[in-house]
Symmetry: C2
Subunit: 182 residues, 2 copies
């Protein structure tokens, strides 16, 4: 079974986190919610939902895992990139050729980690000025080798599906899409 880690900090964007969680679970991928903060309970931006994580980032080595997912949301992505353990995890996935998937403001976490310079990326237009050194295109989702980025909350379902596409076979992806009436 493939395994995804999703990092959740206070103020994550609720669709950007829950669309990939939902889609990957539908596709048979194990999804581990990892709390970045002092509590295992992490609340989304605008207080839409509180998710109970099983682990805090301090408890995880990230030696396994097929993808590291970074949702956006304000101040969620700021809280992610201000945490050194998050930046270490991003570098660990990058350096072991494993997938990193970031949406909205979260591509700036990749930039803060200093990896993947010159890669093709997209991001929320409000953080574009922070992506110096990357090759930005205005697009829904862009995958360049092991860095997958998406523009914003409106593309959360496309983001989740693109991650699933990297992890499961075509039949499983097709069944997952059919179950969502896509």
């Amino acid at each position: 079974m493939k395994k995804a880690y999703i990092l959740l900090a206070e103020g994550f964007e609720v669709i950007e986190a829950l669309a990939p969680i939902d889609i990957l679970k539908r596709a048979g991928v194990e999804v581990v919610k990892v709390a970045v903060g002092s509590s295992l309970d992490i609340t989304s931006s605008h207080n839409h939902a509180t998710l109970d994580c099983i682990y805090r980032i301090e408890d995880i080595s990230f030696d396994d895992g097929d993808v590291l997912i970074l949702p956006g949301g304000n101040p969620g992505y700021i809280n992610l990139r201000n945490n050194d353990l998050v930046l270490d995890a991003v570098r660990k996935f990058f350096n072991s050729d494993r997938l990193i998937a970031a949406i909205c403001g979260a591509p700036t976490v990749i930039a803060m980690a200093g990896i993947g310079i010159n890669r093709n990326i997209t991001c929320h237009s409000s953080v574009l000025h922070e992506m110096t050194g990357y090759n930005y295109t205005k697009a829904s989702v862009i995958k360049d080798d092991n860095i997958l980025t998406a523009a914003g909350a409106g593309h959360s379902i496309a983001f989740g599906l693109e991650i699933a596409k990297c992890l499961v076979d075509n039949d499983t992806l097709s069944r997952t899409q059919q179950g969502m009436e896509l």
Copy 2:
């Protein structure tokens, strides 16, 4: 300020509920989460998230409110349609020409309430056989007067945007879409 009620029962589909909640809040609409069940805390299908509602359905008269939102998810939509107060609320919105928005399996709640026969609808293909008397089209979202339906989880963002379109002006809708990079 426009006001939306969203009915949440155990086993609701998480994207189908949270996409409209998120999008409508972005658009400046008040969203009231109403618990259908014995607790104010309602857990989604696959246990992805637990949402804290402010009211139980027993506490709400539904005399106000511009839209009644019915998310799908299994057994969420079953739990909705098995509750007489839910069916009463659906009839109350319909009979006062207010919007009812249902996605995935939840159009069957409309059928169970016995309203809107002959209307143009869509729904999840797995419940199509329960929509006898309605004019089904395979589509993302269909609005026929005050009944708005969507096909499934993959169309949750389109569903939320279409509800917003019914409640707010074009400039607000446009700003909401831009914030989501749409």
